[in-house]
């Protein structure tokens, strides 16, 4: 069927059968990791995710124990990254913050991607009044500033993780649907899609086997860019008091809170900011790498 998206290794063998399943996947991933840059971005991504998962075991302190006597101490021992104004250990909070920030980022982007790409693909492929209706709806949502929309939703639903994810997703849905629609429009006019129609192929098969696989490039890039974007937007929500609630840490919230102390205790913002920076670098590079890897036309070597 269509398990061929990551199988572009031309083997110099005369056997014309197509292998499938694990052997192909393993071979494909090995090939992916041959590039140094891919190795780096994949390694960094995995490192961050493992840190988040292992936070309860690695963190030297609980993230919520207040100790005003140790407030605003500079990085050193035992507080590797210093403490904040309430004397909480920044290092531990960064590790626990990775859990919230990464999961909110990943779930939001994934939800936005699935919903947005479906809407955009329907809109672009079907065209006509369906396209008009979906795109006008998307424009209505886009005309409201994202943060206002998110604030309104969170204040209605209450500041819980699912409602924050929902609030942040709406903006991503519109972004993904526009990008997907554009790609689908350009792909559906290609002769190979016309050839599918000439063979009498069903629309579902054309969309899933021929149109969408050729649209993933820009979608993957958008996803990797939006991931960092979502984590930052969550910080804005936190800053306005509608994000993840204290004492639960999130990188965005920590950066925002540290603002007041930036001149004399920069470590409060600096360390979560540094991790956010690493995360964005890792996902952007990984996104680029995956896009190039999935493209049988070779792609760039950066």
């Amino acid at each position: 069927m269509t398990d061929t998206t990551h199988t572009q290794i031309p083997m110099p063998s005369d056997d014309s059968g197509y292998r499938s399943g694990w052997s192909l996947f393993a071979e494909s991933s090995n090939k992916f990791l041959e590039l140094k840059l891919n190795k780096f971005s994949f390694g960094l991504t995995m490192f961050l995710i493992v840190l988040a998962i292992l936070a309860p075991w690695i963190a030297p302190f609980p993230y919520d124990v207040v100790d005003p006597a140790r407030g605003l101490s500079a990085p050193g021992w035992p507080h590797l990254m210093g403490t904040d104004q309430a004397g909480r250990d920044i290092f531990s909070r960064v590790l626990y913050g990775a859990q919230t920030s990464l999961s909110i980022g990943l779930v939001t982007v994934l939800f936005g991607l699935v919903t947005g790409v479906s809407l955009g693909a329907i809109s672009g492929y079907v065209g006509g009044w369906v396209d008009e209706v979906i795109m006008r709806l998307v424009e209505i949502f886009m005309s409201v500033p994202g943060i206002v929309m998110a604030l309104a939703l969170v204040s209605i639903l209450g500041p819980s993780v699912p409602s924050i994810i929902l609030a942040l997703s709406i903006r991503r849905i519109t972004q993904f649907s526009r990008v997907a629609r554009g790609s689908v429009l350009s792909v559906k006019s290609q002769d190979y899609v016309t050839a599918c129609h000439a063979l009498g192929m069903s629309n579902a098969r054309i969309v899933f086997a021929h149109v969408l696989p050729n649209c993933i490039g820009p979608i993957i890039v958008l996803a990797s860019v939006l991931l960092g974007n979502v984590i930052l937007t969550e910080s804005t929500l936190s800053f306005l008091g509608m994000g993840i609630q204290e004492p639960t840490p999130s990188w965005g919230g920590m950066i925002a809170k540290g603002n007041e102390f930036l001149t004399f205790a920069p470590w409060i913002s600096l360390f979560p900011g540094g991790f956010l920076f690493l995360t964005m670098i890792a996902f952007n590079l990984l996104g680029d790498g995956v896009r190039d890897h999935l493209d049988p036309r070779g792609g760039s070597v950066v």
Partner: protein, 329 residues
């Protein structure tokens, strides 16, 4: 539905007064403000095993006519009969069965193959969706088809970008052949290729015709290519057929001034001979959304007379098998 009666009498393809108009929409409410008369009353027929060439400038409606016959664009009115079966009214299921009889080869070998699927699977998919063969069986059939079109079976696993233009066109032909069609609509299949490769692909078309008794509806703008492969040639101008004749007849005694102008445009490998000035076409093809009244060619015709501007010439049989639409014949 009419089934095969006596095979020889029923034309393989019979197009009667076919019109394909595209609406031009404007404004917020997509009001229809006009039409592009891409195909405007075409009547042609083809016999089994025949190659019919269709020539004309860009914008004359050749490709739209080809796509209308495939029902890749919906014709506005008229009839299309394939082996006696009217296909314009068929629903999706009936049309699906019917698609086995007519297949298409595209102009651009670069955009006509999905870059993300191994080329063998592109061909196998045609077999799969029509329930002809699946799995190992389909693979064997694709191997066979690949050999027929001059590709190595080991190339099945490669992706389209690993092939040259000519090889890609062979893959496109393999995909069309997979359903074992009677008629192949070839939409300028060689115009994107190098001249040396053109000859190879044309030879392939001719070999396949000999082997399988295929018929080709061969769209082209290069008369030299058409002369090589076609039995009969139709000349199209602004959505209408202006002349049809057997190949030799058309080259020897073209009747329509447009056909003569096209023939005069073939380069002669002798710098001493210069084409007559009045034979060279001036200007561009008029817009198909607002075709000239009377004879559509009158705006560019070197022999134009008063009645050409008023009356539409009738498409008539001037000599047996040689039809033309011109007041002056």
């Amino acid at each position: 539905m009419a089934l095969d009666q006596s095979k020889s009498n029923i034309p393989l393809l019979e197009v009667t007064n076919l019109k394909t108009h595209f609406p031009i929409r404007k404004g917020v409410f997509s009001r229809v403000s006009g039409h592009v008369y891409a195909v405007d009353g075409v009547t042609i027929s083809m016999q089994d095993g025949e190659t019919l060439g269709l020539v004309g400038e860009s914008g004359s409606g050749k490709s739209t006519l080809g796509k209308s016959i495939m029902r890749l664009v919906e014709p506005t009115s008229g009839e299309i009969k394939i082996s006696g079966t009217e296909i314009t009214g068929l629903n999706k299921q009936d049309m699906f069965v019917h698609r086995r009889q007519v297949q298409m080869v595209f102009q651009d070998p670069y955009s006509s193959l999905n870059p993300r699927i191994p080329v063998g699977k592109i061909v196998a998919e045609a077999l799969q969706i029509h329930g002809i063969a699946t799995g190992k069986e389909a693979e064997d059939m694709v191997k066979d088809i690949f050999q027929r079109v001059g590709l190595r079976p080991s190339q099945m696993r490669n992706y389209a970008n690993e092939f040259s233009g000519g090889q890609r066109q062979r893959i496109g032909i393999a995909r069309a052949l997979a359903l074992n069609p009677k008629l192949i609509i070839a939409d300028e299949p060689v115009s994107a290729l190098d001249v040396s490769v053109q000859a190879q692909v044309i030879n392939l078309f001719m070999d396949l015709q000999k082997e399988y008794g295929l018929s080709y509806f061969f769209i082209a703008h290069d008369l030299a290519v058409v002369a090589q492969i076609c039995h009969r040639i139709a000349v199209m101008y602004l959505g209408k057929i202006v002349e049809i004749a057997d190949r030799d007849e058309l080259f020897k005694s073209p009747l329509h001034p447009y056909t003569r102008a096209l023939l005069a445009s073939i380069p002669i490998p002798n710098p001493e001979i210069r084409p007559a000035k009045d034979r060279v076409l001036q200007g561009d093809i008029p817009s198909p959304s607002n075709p000239p009244k009377g004879c559509r060619f009158h705006t560019r015709c070197p022999l134009v007379e008063e009645k050409c501007r008023i009356d539409t010439p009738e498409f008539k049989e001037v000599s047996p098998g040689h039809w033309a639409a011109c007041h002056l014949t």
